[in-house]
């Protein structure tokens, strides 16, 4: 990579300084209070985590290529899948979309110059880093093989590395809480004049719902990890059955956070998809209010269903029944979203740019993931499917097929804004197709494995499962090649990408209509005043080209370039 990455030689000196090049010292990056730069710090760190956790997944799949020992010993395998889960959940997917795209885009969509508490924002990043350092310490201390769920009493009997790992989760949780707190206040207090709740882009709505869940649920994982830590160090006997404690109580504590957490993971993705469907259908998102409020409904209902992870744990039947019943209800607001997204294309003008390809594969994959989630919520059925590969397939369909696919789509969508460069459409679309195919080959087979009874977290398995496991492993290679192509596309764009206009997609939200690509350090030269909805492409057309749809002042956009 040449050093011209950030500042291409072709830079036009008449263009005002942007947030990337106005100050280039390392210090100005590491101590920046600019939400856009903090977003980039997150982007780099979180991508590294994703890469590491993804490579671990590839190793897990490689080991499962044949029954018996393929590459590694059971202890190594157990550590690999645990680390894969822990990294993916706590350090990758929970912070991913809010910390990267929420940070970068949300304040601009609000017409604000920054988040409400910029210092806190930077602090969140460093707290996240400390969490990451602790994870590395735990890995070096060895023997983290609890799975990402840390179930007692097993976890409380392991070596000291569990102490570091629980601390890491505890601290990463704080980062997440502070980000959520910051965003809630920002959305309440920093909206541009005229930007009513009914005119908020749906991405903002979903970040708002996510933040509420983060603030309400994350403290509970904090206290859970603290209690686990004390269980391990002082044997306090709250969860350890040998001391009269109740291991099932631990599961309640864990899932009280971790089920809502799956909505921390998926809601921001919903937001991205809403925006993408609107922009690339050039059409008002159908049922705007329903889509906006269903996020809040999902966030709320998400707190009432955690026990569906415990149907065979030995919890009371009453609670299983209540939890199962409410679990189904979540399908309804989610269905409202899915159907409205599909409806958005109706009589629209659908473009098949790379972000839209991701949005369409999201719809396909997430629907499968969601419907199998509902199947798992069926009491009599979950008894058979619990802790089999059916569950593994379900959650990869929603987390990888849902959140990660949406996040990659969103990254392509906002890439021109973030870097000022276009990426190569052909490479982008090939990668999207590869990922779609690879993903299905990898994980659809796992549904079949699951119904046939293949338990999860198994190093070794019966010979009758081998063929399906091999297909799945081959799929993971296709999937990985697609993801590496994405990485390559982005690096290629940084080095050779064409310069992007301020609004290459013809979007109507403020970050496209009122800022340059890349934006100036303070986002806006003048405070925008909003008069239209976020998907009002007629208003956009009235002010010609990359005009200002969400405001009435066309001269603002003309003063650019």
């Amino acid at each position: 990579m040449s050093e011209t990455v950030a500042v291409p030689a072709s830079i036009d000196t008449s263009v005002p300084k942007n947030y990337l090049n106005h100050d280039k010292s390392i210090k100005s990056w590491l101590l920046t209070l600019d939400h856009k730069r903090i977003a980039l710090l997150y982007l780099v760190t979180i991508s590294i985590v994703f890469l590491v956790a993804g490579v671990l997944a590839l190793l897990v799949r490689a080991e499962l290529f044949t029954a018996g020992e393929t590459l590694m010993k059971p202890d190594t395998y157990n550590q690999f899948f645990s680390l894969h889960g822990i990294l993916m959940v706590f350090l990758f997917i929970v912070p991913s979309v809010p910390a990267i795209m929420g940070n970068f885009v949300m304040p601009m969509q609000l017409g604000a110059i920054d988040v409400a508490f910029p210092r806190l924002n930077l602090a969140s990043y460093y707290i996240y880093l400390i969490g990451g350092v602790l994870v590395v310490t735990a890995i070096l201390a060895g023997n983290i093989d609890t799975g990402w769920t840390f179930y007692t009493p097993y976890s409380a009997r392991l070596g000291s590395s569990v102490i570091f790992m629980t601390l890491a989760v505890f601290i990463a949780g704080f980062s997440s809480i502070l980000t959520g707190l910051n965003f809630i206040v920002t959305i309440h207090k920093m909206r541009a004049p005229g930007l009513t709740w009914n005119r908020l882009p749906l991405f903002v709505w979903s970040i708002y719902a996510t933040s509420i869940v983060q603030v309400l649920a994350t403290p509970v994982i904090g206290i859970t990890m603290l209690l686990l830590l004390l269980e391990k160090t002082l044997q306090i006997g709250i969860f350890d059955p040998a001391l009269g404690g109740d291991p099932i109580l631990f599961q309640h504590f864990f899932w009280f956070y971790s089920h809502p957490a799956v909505y921390i993971m998926i809601l921001p993705a919903f937001g991205i998809i809403s925006d993408l469907m609107g922009v690339f259908s050039r059409h008002e998102v159908q049922g705007y209010k329903f889509v906006a409020l269903s996020s809040v409904a999902i966030a709320f209902l998400g707190f009432l269903v955690w026990g569906h992870h415990m149907f065979v744990s030995g919890q009371s039947a009453i609670s299983s029944i209540v939890f199962s019943l409410i679990t189904y209800l979540i399908g309804i607001p989610t269905g409202v979203k899915v159907l409205n997204w599909v409806g958005t294309m109706y009589r629209g003008s659908v473009s098949f740019k790379t972000p839209m390809l991701y949005a369409l594969s999201f719809l396909f994959l997430f629907t499968i993931g969601g419907l199998t989630g509902v199947a798992l919520g069926v009491l009599g059925l979950d008894i058979h499917l619990h802790d089999t590969y059916f569950v593994v397939a379900h959650f990869h369909y929603v987390m990888m097929g849902g959140t990660v696919i949406a996040a990659i789509g969103g990254l392509h969508y906002w890439w021109p804004k973030i870097t000022g460069k276009m990426y190569n459409e052909t490479m982008g679309s090939i990668a999207a197709v590869l990922i779609f195919i690879g993903f299905n080959v990898t994980f659809f087979t796992q549904f079949v494995l699951g119904t046939k009874g293949m338990p999860r977290r198994y190093y070794d398995y019966q010979i009758q499962y081998e063929a399906l496991h091999q297909i799945s492993t081959v799929g993971s290679w296709i999937l990985a090649s697609g993801l590496f192509l994405v990485l390559f596309t982005f690096i290629h764009s940084l080095m050779k990408g064409k310069k992007a206009g301020s609004n290459p997609w013809g979007a109507a939200t403020l970050e496209w209509t009122h800022t340059a690509s890349p934006p100036s350090p303070h986002n806006f030269d003048e405070q925008p005043i909003v008069t239209h909805g976020p998907y009002d492409y007629h208003a956009l057309a009235r002010v010609s080209g990359d005009g200002a749809a969400q405001t009435s002042e066309p001269e603002l956009s003309e003063s650019r370039h």
Partner: protein
Amino acid sequence: MDHASHGHHITPKSLLIKVFGSLILLTILTVAVSRVHLGALNVPVAIAIAVVKMMLVVTVFMAVKWDNKVNALVIGLSALFVSIFLIFTLFDTAYRGDLSNVDRVPISDQQRQQSAEMAPADAGAAASEMPASGH
């Protein structure tokens, strides 16, 4: 923006003193009540008094009464979610073992119960044998 009104509300000293006085009285009351045996009522009464005390602190000391209503909503939400956590967990723990597939009490308790029953039961068996042998 016209938030000036609630940003600068000054709570009168007399009100603060009154509330402080009531808090002290309620504390004395809660101790006094706990000394009397109300049976099943002891716990609800103690919690009710604590809730009243909390409301006093929140509304007056924390000035929620004069504050932006969003903040009141925020407090309401936290109370709501704490109750959800509590109630849904109790759905399990209070009814654990309601179907025959799981035992209601842990094994250690079952053993304790057994050994507690064993002792008098043995004595009883011995006693009932006595007249039989006396025949």
